[in-house]
């Protein structure tokens, strides 16, 4: 029972497939909704720190556990339908 059936997946013409990794999706989300200030350029380490802070800020806004990490519930929240107005004013 528990073995999933082998399904055939096809590529549907015209399908909007957002080929993004989870990290890319998160970065795009944090930028789009104002959690990361896109005007500031950062180097690698600073970027990691900032992303963690941004994630925490986003998690606080969404009422999620503030882990600062891209966990499953945060990723799920980022995939939810929502309003396009940024959460953090710029």
């Amino acid at each position: 029972w528990s073995l999933p059936l082998k399904s055939v997946f096809v590529t549907f013409p015209g399908d909007v497939i957002k080929n993004m990794t989870d990290t890319e999706l998160a970065e795009s989300y944090l930028k789009k909704f104002g959690y990361i200030d896109t005007a500031v350029r950062r180097s690698g380490f600073q970027s990691m720190v900032s992303t963690s802070k941004a994630l925490k800020r986003m998690q606080r806004q969404m009422g999620l556990e503030e882990t600062g990490e891209l966990d499953k519930s945060t990723l799920e929240a980022m995939k939810q339908p929502r309003c396009g107005v940024p959460d953090v004013a710029n």
């Binding site: 096809v10 806004q61 339908p81 309003c83 396009g84």
Partner: protein, 570 residues
């Protein structure tokens, strides 16, 4: 709540709005009404008034658009971003834009307003029966002119009430043809068209000519979406073609086969294999009323709240009986103050109303009801299964569907599987609590298992064992309740809780090794937070709120429908 930096707000209380265009998904009357109700959400708690303008510049200009729609913030296709709005001010400030790649409804599936016919524009009643067959969408059956129609009561043969559904063969909207219907075929840039087309436009809206030759006459209109029209894919606006062939197999309904995301799709021609024309099947859509009320909050000066139940929370979620959260009220009253003076008193009816007063909607609800059927069952509303939006559990006992809710149960039994009840749980199964989270019948021993919270009971006839703790079965103490049970094979049952499920060996009364497993890994395409899971007539059902997702033996979601209509047969 949060306001925009500088507490941006209108400097006058008589705010104006203008609707610049409409979505093909919803009738303009329904759209107007949704926007009016969305404004009323805010005018009910502030001194603000909202006046609609039909020309010129209004404070709040409302429009639908797709992708790049003329401002610096393009939309992103279906799902994701639904809409946005600008805080109060001049120019684009205060305006609200809605993504027309979304499927706009009132949040519960297609809302189809009829035209012509004899129902005076009433909404379609789905499902309805016509000559013994049940229809859940508009149909062209019984007509030779190919115009889709629907009944506006539950039984066409009894009531004979009907109207025509949106169709380009009946009318267009926008454009310059005053709503005239499409003329097919028509000529555009020397080429002949037999259906609405996207050609010649960059905004993604389907249009047609309303005379035989657009090149000569230049009259056109936009095509309304049929309730059966697909969204997305490469055939948006066209209708599913049943049956259709996909990878050599014939399909009579929408399927998730071929996709990894569980979304239901269909071919719009008889053969996907040959034509590769497809789209997603219509779902419940997004409530224009709820999204508009949120956007208008921005247009009045409110930023996003971090309170999940507040209207100004950034994520969309459908709520049946909407009322403004105290956080939203505090926010808007911080900007504009509270409403003063008495509320207007509605005129009293001259004759007494009938017994359906409990069913009346408030102005804030997001549900538009079709004309009620002419007969109703004289039951107390609180005990009418058809008026419940959610059940504690649904299960099959002695081959009959049972619906449990707060001390009562209903069952579909008898030759015609009519809904019977309510019955008292305590009367039939003494010792059980009022709320049953899950239940199943062991097909081998016919013992009945009931779960409530972290306890379970086992009934053999009238004798009962329990309550016992679910931990005794090997379930972790972290789970708060068992939400669904699926009998699988001999002596095995799957128990669902949260996003996981476990396999119980009934004989050993122990959970098998290798569990829990994630529900969404094994059952793709169903809600991971289903609150009822059960098996009925060879299909597995996952219920969430008033909807069910039906899965076939190949674990493909082959139908999504209403518990109320399809399972309760209300």
């Amino acid at each position: 709540y949060k306001t925009f930096e500088g507490d941006l707000k209108w400097d006058h209380n008589d705010v104006t709005y203008r609707i610049l265009n409409y979505s093909p998904d919803m009738d303009s009357d329904l759209t107007d009404d949704a926007f009016a109700r969305a404004f009323k959400v805010w005018s009910d708690v502030t001194p603000l008034t909202f006046t609609r303008l039909f020309e010129g510049t209004a404070d709040i200009m409302i429009s639908f658009g797709k992708a790049d729609h003329g401002d610096p913030y393009p939309f992103d296709g279906e799902n994701g971003l639904l809409a946005h709005a600008y805080p109060p001010g001049e120019g684009i400030q205060g305006d609200a834009h809605f993504d027309d790649d979304e499927y706009w409804t009132l949040g519960k599936g297609p809302v189809v307003k009829t035209r012509y016919g004899n129902a005076e524009g009433a909404l379609c009643h789905f499902p309805f029966t016509f000559e013994g067959k049940t229809y859940t969408t508009c149909t062209t059956e019984g007509r030779s002119d190919n115009l889709p129609w629907c009944a506006t009561t539950a039984d066409y043969n009894r009531d004979k009430k009907f109207g025509f559904c949106p169709s380009e063969l009946l009318y267009t909207f926008g454009g310059n043809a005053n709503g005239a219907q499409c003329v097919f075929p028509f000529i555009f840039l020397g080429k002949e068209y037999d259906s609405c087309t996207l050609e010649g436009r960059s905004d993604g809206y389907r249009w047609c000519a309303t005379t035989e030759n657009f090149d000569n006459d230049k009259t056109f209109g936009f095509c309304p979406s049929r309730d059966t029209a697909v969204t997305g894919g490469n055939a948006e606006g066209e209708t599913c073609h049943f049956p259709f062939v996909f990878l050599g197999q014939s399909y009579d309904s929408c399927t998730s086969e071929g996709r990894g995301d569980g979304k239901l799709w269909c071919s719009t021609t008889s053969s996907y294999d040959d034509d590769k024309k497809w789209g997603f099947c219509p779902d419940q859509g997004y409530s224009l009323f709820l999204v508009a009320a949120h956007e208008f909050g921005h247009a009045l000066g409110l930023d996003h709240s971090n309170i999940r139940d507040a209207l100004m929370y950034p994520m969309y979620s459908y709520v049946e009986d909407f009322s403004l959260h105290s956080d939203d009220i505090e926010g808007i009253q911080y900007l504009y103050g509270p409403k003063r003076g008495p509320s207007p008193t509605p005129p009293q009816p001259s004759t007494p109303t009938t017994d359906d007063s409990d069913d009346k909607e408030t102005d804030h609800t997001d549900e538009t009801r079709p004309t009620e059927p002419t007969t109703t069952r004289p039951v107390e509303p609180t005990k009418d299964a058809c008026k419940l939006t959610k059940f504690d559990t649904i299960t099959v006992i002695e081959n009959e569907l049972h619906f449990f809710q707060d001390g009562h149960y209903w069952k579909r039994s008898g030759r015609d599987k009519e809904l019977q009840g309510p019955f008292s749980i305590a009367a039939r199964w003494p010792a059980l609590p009022a709320v049953i989270d899950s239940a199943f019948e062991d097909t081998l021993t016919k013992k009945l298992y009931f779960f409530s919270g972290t306890r379970f009971w086992v009934f053999t006839g009238k004798s009962v064992l329990g309550p016992r703790s679910v931990e005794k079965l090997g379930l972790p103490n972290s789970i708060q309740k068992v939400e669904g049970a699926l009998q699988r094979g001999k002596g095995k049952v799957l128990l669902f809780s949260g996003e996981n499920f476990w396999r119980l060996d009934i004989k050993a009364q122990k959970i098998d090794r290798g569990y829990p497993r994630f529900t969404d890994v094994v059952f793709g395409g169903v809600p991971s937070d289903a609150h009822d899971v059960f098996q009925y007539k060879g299909h597995i059902y996952f219920c969430r709120e008033s909807f069910y997702w039906r899965m076939n033996s190949r674990r493909q979601v082959d139908r999504v429908g209403y518990v109320k209509y399809d399972l309760l047969t209300c």
